[in-house]
């Protein structure tokens, strides 16, 4: 889009880069007899690739597969149901990131609970939830802690604030996820043939480039850390193609203005100060050992799972195929519900409602009627 202060040179540069990417992709096809496949791990990349038109412009040249990088989408149905059922207790204020509000549980959503009078509040930072706890000392404030490595340090910051202010009516229901274990699982399962990864810029900002070295050294795959503008993403795909053509496995940082070699040491320190590795259940995949973070024992007083018990029944089964979407096995339109029974207004699965979900990206930016 045109910045009113600038000339539109970005546009010409993007088109030149696009041509180069197409040329390299054609060379790959001639060499290996197939279209190269890259997985974008991050939900924000999924959205940006669709919105900028890159995904459509590369159709037939490069297959871009949405990976399990949307925190809402990968959250297991049992966990979603448990989070929603937390609203049933009296004298509770449930605080959440906005994305969670319309995610369907088996028997309702947080938005429905709110319209029925439950105290559910959208906050933009977990620290805001601590402030709400401070203002309402006679109520229990529970923050729904979902997210990847980008979010976990912010969760830690909120716990630190609650600890320093000695706030006793604040807790978090943790369901965080880590990128490395899920990538290892996907590569181990080998359900999708991949030629490389477009790595998440935000997660890499915390974890650093070297965190992803294992993709090259252990799995022999190239990977590129990318930002979110069209030029960033095209440049990253260009690097991926060049590496894949030469069959050279390297992990490249193409987002150096934001991502450091070793990441953000301070953020990692606070993550590991309050939280420890735990097993986590992933939607459509199951439990992956040590794939999330939960409170260390000494911080049980902030752990909502210890403070509150919730009862959930067996999750309601639907024909939603979000589990296959996040594993890269199908594209959203291949789900029979897509755009018919399942739309952003009436979502059946989380991939349609999250602002980082691949079904929502397809619906908003790639749907044709």
């Amino acid at each position: 889009m045109l910045d009113v202060m600038d000339s539109p040179t970005h546009s010409a540069l993007s088109r030149t880069l696009l041509q180069e990417v197409r040329m390299l992709a054609s060379q790959f096809q001639q060499t290996f007899g197939r279209v190269p496949s890259f997985m974008e791990v991050c939900g924000s990349h999924t959205m940006a690739l669709a919105r900028t038109g890159i995904k459509k412009a590369l159709e037939g040249y490069v297959r871009l597969i949405s990976g399990p990088g949307c925190p809402v989408c990968v959250t297991d149905q049992v966990t979603i149901d448990a989070m929603i059922s937390l609203t049933n207790g009296s004298d509770r204020i449930i605080c959440t990131f906005g994305d969670m509000m319309r995610v369907p549980g088996s028997y309702g959503t947080l938005m429905q609970a709110k319209t029925e009078g439950k105290d559910v509040r959208v906050v933009y930072s977990p620290v805001d939830a601590v402030r709400i706890a401070e203002q309402h000392p006679h109520q229990e404030v529970i923050f729904l802690g979902i997210g990847f490595e980008t979010t976990i340090p912010i969760l830690a910051a909120a716990v630190k604030e609650a600890e320093e202010k000695q706030i006793h009516n604040f807790s978090m229901w943790m369901s965080t996820k880590l990128v490395e274990p899920i990538l290892r699982r996907l590569l181990h399962d080998g359900e999708v043939l991949l030629d490389g990864f477009l790595l998440p810029g935000h997660v890499s900002m915390v974890m650093g480039r070297e965190h992803f070295e294992f993709l090259a050294t252990e799995y022999g795959l190239p990977a590129v850390i990318s930002g979110f503008e069209a030029l960033h993403m095209l440049s990253a795909i260009r690097h991926l193609l060049m590496s894949a053509l030469k069959q050279r496995a390297i992990v490249l940082n193409d987002y150096k203005s934001v991502v450091a070699e070793q990441g953000n040491k301070q953020a990692k320190y606070w993550m590991n100060h309050y939280f420890t590795l735990c097993d986590e259940a992933w939607r459509g995949i199951g439990v992956i050992s040590q794939s999330g973070m939960d409170f260390k024992k000494e911080y049980d007083r902030f752990n909502a799972k210890i403070k509150f018990s919730v009862s959930t029944s067996e999750p309601r089964r639907t024909k939603c195929r979000c589990g296959e979407v996040i594993r890269g096995l199908i594209d959203p339109p291949q789900c029979a519900l897509f755009g018919k029974a399942c739309t952003p207004i009436n979502p059946i699965g989380p991939c349609m409602v999250s602002s980082e979900g691949s079904c929502a990206a397809y619906y908003q930016y790639m749907r044709e009627e």
Binding site: L2, D6, S14, R15, L18, G43, G53, G147, I345
Partner: protein
């Protein structure tokens, strides 16, 4: 049981569904639902009538306040149907405990904004509700204007789409002013009365087909509605749409699309290609229109689709905003 949610008030798909399913279907008057103001024949005169309620939070924001917004918004709704705004009424719902000093500031801004368009505020109503029953202050305004030159609304293939300036400014200014996102920005709301600008454009061309002020739901939702209501297909050029660097930056960070952010001081016009330059010259000669740009073309007069050509040369279809825009988690 289906209930009203906040998403029903965002000007997008759910708001559209609510209006068509409940209000239009029960008031049996779908023709008027297409326009910002209804035009009524009264003796020898054609009058335009509009009403709007303002519930913005916070009440004061960079570039304006709820009072300025209420008057400007209502005058703009009259101006975009080609009317000369004449009188306004206003109703206040005030929460117990509200500061009289703040109320005076707000009312003063209303008076100043009305003066810009030579509009008189002629009647009003005040209700005070218990503390906790309202968010400080709500304002409802009703406006009446005289239509001196009705727009013909006959959109033709090849017509140009013009926007009077950068989009998304109000949306970002409000998000930042709420202080919930931890963002610091210098973006001010574009909130202003557009009548003086629009009247000059109407003098520059006798053939402006249609005008709208792209408020809630943003430029994209407003143009989707025009495409559907009039059955025309419009193709926008993404790299010609003016967007301020700060607005684009905030959107990148939060995962928002500036095309869906609210504007309160912009007008979008559909004009014949041959009148495009004359209208642009007039708009750009005024401070409110200095960044005016031709952003698209009417491609066909069937189908009713809004398309966006990206800088990469691909085209995608734009739809109404679906659900609330919320910042991403990661």
């Amino acid at each position: 049981m289906e209930r009203i949610t906040l998403a029903h008030g965002d000007g997008g798909e759910l708001a559209h569904k609510l209006i068509t399913d409940v209000f239009v279907s029960m008031f049996h008057n779908d023709h008027y639902a297409k326009f910002d103001s209804a035009t009524l024949t009264w003796g020898a005169h054609e009058l335009a009538v509009t009403t709007d309620s303002f519930v913005v939070k916070p009440l004061f924001f960079p570039g304006g306040n709820i009072g300025k917004l209420a008057v400007a918004g209502t005058i703009n709704d009259l101006a975009v149907v080609g009317a000369v705004p004449k009188v306004l009424t206003c109703g206040f719902i005030i929460e117990e405990g509200f500061s009289i000093r703040d109320l005076k500031t707000i009312v003063q801004s209303m008076a100043e904004e009305a003066k810009k368009a030579n509009v008189t505020i002629v009647a009003g109503d005040t209700k005070v509700v218990e503390r906790g029953s309202a968010d400080g202050l709500y304002i409802n305004t009703t406006g009446i204007g005289v239509v001196s030159r009705p727009l013909d609304r006959k959109i033709c293939e090849g017509d140009s789409v013009i926007v009077s300036g950068s989009v998304g400014d109000h949306g970002v200014a409000i998000l930042v002013a709420r202080g919930e996102l931890g963002l610091v920005s210098t973006v001010e709301s574009d909130c202003t009365t557009l009548y003086p600008l629009i009247s000059k454009a109407l003098k520059a061309s006798n053939h402006i087909r249609l005008m709208r002020d792209p408020t809630r739901g943003g430029l994209a939702t407003t143009l989707v509605e025009i495409c559907e209501d009039f059955g025309v297909t419009i193709e926008l050029e993404e790299d010609r749409i003016p967007i301020k660097k700060e607005v684009e930056g905030a959107c990148e960070l939060l995962g928002f699309d500036p095309l869906y952010l609210a504007n309160e001081g912009k007008v979008v016009m559909i004009v014949p290609k041959e009148d495009e330059q004359a209208i642009l010259d007039v708009l750009r000669s005024q401070p409110e229109g200095k960044d005016a740009a031709v952003i698209g073309t009417v491609r066909a007069t069937n189908k009713g689709q809004l398309l966006l050509r990206t800088p990469l040369g691909t085209t995608r279809r734009l739809y109404r905003l679906t659900g609330l825009m919320l910042p991403r988690i990661c």
